[in-house]
Structure formats: structure tokens, C-alpha cells
């Protein structure tokens, strides 16, 4: 159970045996707390129903992508201790209240049926699956956004690669003419420019992967420091690396062939006329 909205104040007078709490790294840093220190937790800043606790540990909160901009000022304590602070003395039933109950089903595949059944049996209870479906997962949407941006970047990159290959083809106009004159077929020349395009694209993709891999740590460190979180923002996985090579390779081949096509389909002698 996590106590939110509580205030940590260094205690002036010690209780006999203060119960243990854990505080998040961020709260420890903000309130200058160390292990062994005694603090008072209360429901409001006036110290209502305040109680003393001993800090027995400092923990790193589980990174939550949904809350990475939030200050993780948290403390973890035993449920009865939290109820002692938070329960309303005027409402005895409030000692029986929790805001959520986490369940692990024996068979997770039945979670939908279980939720429907429980909500029918206990009206007013809301049962939610912890796993998000594609429709309500913001990270699925963000992934779509990033894929769209990478497609646009790829189109721009292909146009530039094509322009470079056109320049290369123009540079080699006379060489191509001579090769054609000595009997090398169009097919062989096309294969050679396709291989060249493939090599350029593959080397470019490999360079991009290496650059991404090298800069991954830097990007993560910058964002982790900016948001004070252990969340990993960028990770170059083998599947992403493979996907970029698989996409780049055919584009390189097409750029090589496309750029040289106008030159190679012409008659040999016309190649020499500028």
C-alpha cells in the first residue's frame, strides 16, 4: 500500500518503538532523509493524526511510463499503520476500507469473465484488468506515431539516396559506355549498381544502428536526469536493428537501379554524347 499526500517532518520527540517505513529515493532526497531517521507522517500539513515512523530503507520506485513526469514522493508502510493515520475516527467503517485490491488469477485468460462476474455479484465494485488492450494503451499510440515519423524520415532519406546515386551514375557515364562497348551486358551492369545501392544502404543502416546504440546511453541519461526516473527511454533491440536493415536494403537496391536505369537503357553510342 502506498501512502500518498503525506507530509514527512523530522520528529522532535521519539515514540517508544516507531514502526518501519520505506521512502522513495526522490522523497529521501527532497526531505533530506537517511536510513534510521524518525519522521512523522500525517494526513495534512497541520499534522492531523500524525504518527512517527523509522525510515528502514530507501527504494527506487518502479518506473511507470504513465507517471514519468510526476514527482515520486512516496512512502511504503504496513497497511494497518496507514489505516491508523488515514482512517476517519468518526467513521468506524473507514478502517475496513482500501482503495484497491490486486488479484492474481489462477488462469489469467479468464480475467474478462471474472471481472464481469464479480461486478454482477457486487454492484458498485469496479473490476479492471491490469493488462491494457491495444485500444486504451497510450504506448501503442506512441509507437504508431514513431513508426509514422520513421516512415517519413525513410522517404526523405530515400530521395536523397536516389539523388546521390543519380550523381554517381552521371559521373560514370563514360565508364559505363566503355563497359558496354567491350561487351558487358546491361543486366550485369544493373546488377552491379544494385549491389552498390545495397552496399551503400546497408552501410548507412549499420552506421545508423551503431550511432543509435552509442547514443542510447546518453539519451537515457539526459532524460533520466531531466525527469528523475529510472525509466529507460531508448533501447536499440536486435529486432529494431534487423528491421532497419531489412527496410534499408531493398530501398538501396531500388535507388541504385532507378538512378542508373535512364543511362543503361540508352544505346551505347548515345551515352558518349553529352
Amino acid at each position: 500500500m502506498v501512502a500518498l499526500g503525506s507530509v514527512a517532518i523530522p520528529a522532535v520527540t521519539l515514540a517508544a518503538d516507531p514502526p518501519a517505513i520505506l521512502v522513495s529515493r526522490q522523497l529521501a532526497a527532497r526531505a533530506h532523509l537517511t536510513v534510521g531517521e524518525v519522521v512523522t507522517l500525517a494526513v495534512d500539513a497541520d499534522g492531523t493524526r500524525g504518527r512517527q515512523f523509522r525510515v528502514t530503507g530507501i527504494y527506487e520506485p518502479t518506473p511507470d511510463p504513465m507517471r514519468f513526469t510526476a514527482d515520486r514522493l512516496e512512502a511504503r508502510l504496513h497497511l494497518p499503520d496507514l489505516i491508523d493515520i488515514a482512517a476517519d475516527p468518526a467513521d468506524p467503517a473507514s478502517r475496513e476500507a482500501v482503495s484497491a485490491i490486486n488479484l492474481k488469477l489462477a488462469d489469467g485468460r479468464n480475467s474478462r469473465e471474472f471481472a464481469a462476474d464479480l461486478m454482477t455479484r457486487a454492484p458498485g465494485v469496479l473490476v479492471r484488468q491490469t493488462a491494457r488492450s491495444g485500444e486504451d494503451d497510450p504506448f501503442v499510440v506512441l509507437e504508431r506515431f514513431h513508426v509514422a515519423i520513421s516512415i517519413v524520415t525513410m522517404i526523405g532519406g530515400t530521395a536523397f539516396l536516389l539523388a546521390l546515386m543519380v550523381i554517381r551514375a552521371e559521373e560514370r557515364r563514360e565508364t559505363v559506355g566503355i563497359l558496354r562497348l567491350v561487351g558487358i551486358s546491361r543486366r550485369t551492369l544493373l546488377a552491379s549498381v544494385a549491389i552498390e545501392g545495397l552496399a551503400v544502404a546497408a552501410m548507412g543502416a549499420a552506421f545508423g544502428i551503431v550511432l543509435a546504440y552509442v547514443s542510447e546511453g546518453l539519451v537515457n541519461r539526459v532524460f533520466q536526469a531531466r525527469y528523475d526516473t529510472a525509466l529507460v527511454f531508448v533501447r536499440v533491440t536486435p529486432s529494431i536493428a534487423m528491421r532497419s536493415i531489412v527496410v534499408a536494403a531493398p530501398l538501396g537496391i531500388l535507388a541504385g537501379i532507378g538512378a542508373s536505369w535512364t543511362l543503361l537503357r540508352r544505346e551505347v553510342l548515345s551515352i558518349f554524347h553529352r
Binding site: 469496479l126 499510440v141 530521395a159
Partner: protein, 401 residues
């Protein structure tokens, strides 16, 4: 012949590569333009949404607007605020989580909103009537529901809806209240998938088991158009120093600090990357192109065309590529922004009327400036190459080669 004319002739002579380079710059420029629109889009859209609601001030009991607690004595506070000169309208709102179900269906988690008044700025009735209409007046718990809730529970005006309020921290199981749906409405701040039911503050009080008047957790205040800025805010702060009063500007600034950080960062990273990408590619194309035309440039120099004119020609070549591409990038970017906006608006919790990419003249000005700097920077190395070109040696090598 002017250096621009020389650059224009070069572009015409190497038409294919010029067109491809322009296409590349246009695509990358479109992405850059979109990132500039994204950098403030959500913020502008949010500010527009706040302004369109017609309310200038928001009164809450806590720091920030995200997590709210009821304001003790809010009915009296609202009465006092109405007495402040220049106050036009005061609306009290209370929101609590609840579950809703029809007679034979399963429960759905909803947001239950209690409102002291009907307000056409906050919602628009699409079907049926409003909460204070004569048809709804006889109902103990009239309710307006969002379209997604109407679809989820197959509700139409006249349908009965059983609501269980679940105020946090209250352990006792509150009895359900049966409301009658009087209309289906569209809410200014409601996400596209939002399941919300709005009722009167009195009916809301019954739902949460309140015997007396229900405290609102948000009081919205609108001022007269000619009201002095800040005057009402100070007056409310004087009435209740324990509360926080936020102007629309402060709400936007808070949103900018907390909710918008990710998109600001990502737009900064991506616009920097696209700038570097555009610079590298234009610089590479120009350099390769210059290396191919070294003989031609040496010949121009031998004919008496000075270094400055050659440098100016190269600058014009770069400006033509980047300029034409940058110009094409604007309509292309607008079209791309529509696609990207549609993707991002699928995110849960985004109000229907909010957009991530919002056009503003400032973005065009920054776009033009950044591309101008890119064109200039991309031409530096090719200019340096041609400036130190040995004319005789290059001509001999090119002719003999």
C-alpha cells in the same frame, strides 16, 4: 551573368538530381515543420479550449487542478463571488468516480459530475433536453450522458440509469440512485472515450449520501469582458485565503510544466535531428556535385569570374534546393500533421476538441529561419573547396583526365 542565374542554370542542367534533392528537403522539412507545430500545439489547443469555455478563473482547495478535494462552504463562497463587481457567472462542479448500470447490464466505471447550473459552454446537448429544462424539472435525478456512455450502455433519452457513487475514502456502501437520462451531450473537456454522467448538484448530493448542501470541488468564474485583469482573482483570494484561484494562463502554465513535457521534449529532439539530417544531406549533395564540376568551376574562374561570385553561386544553389524544398514542406507538413494528429488523438484521455499540431505563424517563421541557417551551413564546405581550387592544375587534370 549574375550568380543567381549561374545557380539557376546549374539546377536546370542537372534537373533529376535537383528535383530529388528538393523532394528530400521537402519531406524532411515537412517533418521539421510538424515538430515545430507539435512543440506548442497541445498547449495552444488547451489554452483555446479553456478560453472557449467562457470561464476566466478556477477556484480549488488544493495546489494544482489534477487531484481535488471538496471546498468547504462552497455554496456560500459562490454567493459571495457573485457579489464581486464584474463577475458574470459562477458555476460549481463536483466530480466523483462512480459505477453505472442499466437494469440488466454489467456495471461500467464512470465519472459522475454534479453541476450547479446548466452551461452551454461546458457541454452541448446533442439529443434530448438539458438538466433544467421543463421536461427534466420533475425528475429527482436528471442526467446528461456523454455519447460514449450512451453507446456503452445503450442509453437513449428517457432511459433509467442506476448509479453508485464511490467517493474515495468512504467505506460504507452507498445506496444506488436511479437517474433518468434526459439527454446526450458533448462535453468540451471530455475525451473521445469518456464515460461521464452529469446531474444537478442536489441529485449528486443524494448519490454521495449528503444530507445538506453538497460542497463543490471546483468553482468556475467568468468575468465581464471589460473587467480589470487580476481584480476578481485578488477579490476571491481575499474572500477565502485557504483556497487557490487559478487564471486560465496559470492553468496553461501548469499544464506546460507537467502534462506537456514529453511532447515538448520529443519535438525538440526530432526537430534537432531533422535539422542535422537536412544539413548533412544538402551538404553531401552539394559537395559531391561540386567535386563533379571542379573542371567547370575552374573554367569559370579562368574566364575571370571571381571567388566571391562562385561562392555566391554555390550559396544560391543551396538556397534554391533548401528554399524550394522548404516551401513545398509547408503544405506537405500541414497534410502530414493531419495524419500524425489523428494518430496521437487516439490516446486515451485526450479531449475531443484538443489537437497536438496547431498552426501558428511563429512556427512558419522558425521553420524559415532554421532552413535558412541549414542552407547557409550546408554551403560552407563546398565554398571552401572552390575558394582554394588551383585553377591551372584543375584545368590540366580535368582536360587530360
Amino acid at each position: 551573368m549574375t550568380s543567381f542565374a549561374l545557380a539557376w542554370r546549374t539546377a536546370q542542367r542537372y534537373r533529376a538530381r535537383t528535383m530529388l534533392a528538393i523532394a528530400g528537403v521537402a519531406v524532411i522539412g515537412a517533418l521539421l515543420f510538424d515538430m515545430l507545430l507539435l512543440s506548442r500545439g497541445l498547449l495552444l489547443s488547451f489554452a483555446d479550449l479553456l478560453d472557449s469555455s467562457g470561464f476566466d478563473l478556477r477556484v480549488v482547495s488544493t495546489e494544482g487542478l489534477a487531484a481535488r478535494l471538496p471546498i468547504a462552504g462552497s455554496a456560500r463562497l459562490a454567493g459571495d463571488i457573485r457579489q464581486i463587481p464584474d463577475v458574470q457567472h459562477v458555476l460549481m462542479i463536483r466530480i466523483e468516480p462512480a459505477t453505472a448500470r442499466t437494469a440488466d447490464g454489467p456495471s461500467r466505471g464512470i465519472s459522475l459530475v454534479g453541476s450547479s447550473d446548466t452551461d452551454e459552454h461546458v457541454w452541448r446537448v446533442l439529443q434530448g433536453t438539458d438538466l433544467r429544462s421543463p421536461a427534466a424539472a420533475g425528475e429527482r435525478c436528471p442526467a446528461l450522458v456523454t455519447r460514449p456512455l450512451a453507446v456503452a450502455l445503450a442509453l437513449t433519452p428517457g432511459a433509467r440509469l442506476t448509479i453508485n457513487a464511490r467517493p474515495p475514502g468512504v467505506a460504507s456502501a452507498l445506496p444506488a440512485v436511479v437517474c433518468r437520462v434526459v439527454g446526450i451531450a458533448e462535453f468540451a473537456f471530455a475525451p473521445t472515450d469518456d464515460l461521464t454522467a452529469v446531474t444537478t448538484l442536489e441529485a449528486f448530493g443524494n448519490a454521495i449520501g449528503n444530507a445538506g448542501p453538497t460542497d463543490a470541488d471546483l468553482v468556475l468564474v467568468s468575468s465581464r469582458p471589460d473587467a480589470a485583469p487580476g481584480g476578481i482573482l485578488r477579490a476571491i483570494a481575499g474572500l477565502r485565503p485557504d483556497l487557490r484561484v487559478y487564471s486560465n494562463e496559470e492553468v496553461v502554465s501548469q499544464f506546460n510544466r507537467n502534462g506537456f513535457a514529453y511532447f515538448r521534449q520529443i519535438s525538440l529532439v526530432l526537430s534537432s535531428l531533422t535539422m542535422v539530417f537536412a544539413f548533412l544531406l544538402v551538404a553531401t549533395l552539394l559537395t559531391v556535385s561540386i567535386n563533379q564540376r571542379l573542371g567547370e568551376i575552374a573554367a569559370l574562374r579562368a574566364l575571370g569570374i571571381g571567388r566571391t561570385r562562385i561562392a555566391s553561386m554555390l550559396l544560391w544553389e543551396s538556397a534554391l534546393l533548401v528554399g524550394a524544398g522548404g516551401l513545398l514542406a509547408l503544405p506537405l507538413g500541414e497534410a502530414l500533421a493531419l495524419v500524425l494528429d489523428r494518430i496521437l488523438r487516439q490516446m486515451p484521455g485526450i479531449p475531443e476538441r484538443m489537437h497536438f499540431f496547431v498552426f501558428e505563424p511563429r512556427a512558419v517563421a522558425i521553420h524559415v529561419t532554421l532552413l535558412g541557417v541549414t542552407a547557409l551551413a550546408a554551403a560552407v564546405y563546398p565554398i571552401w573547396l572552390t575558394a582554394r581550387l588551383p585553377i591551372a592544375e584543375t584545368l590540366r587534370r580535368e582536360v587530360l583526365g
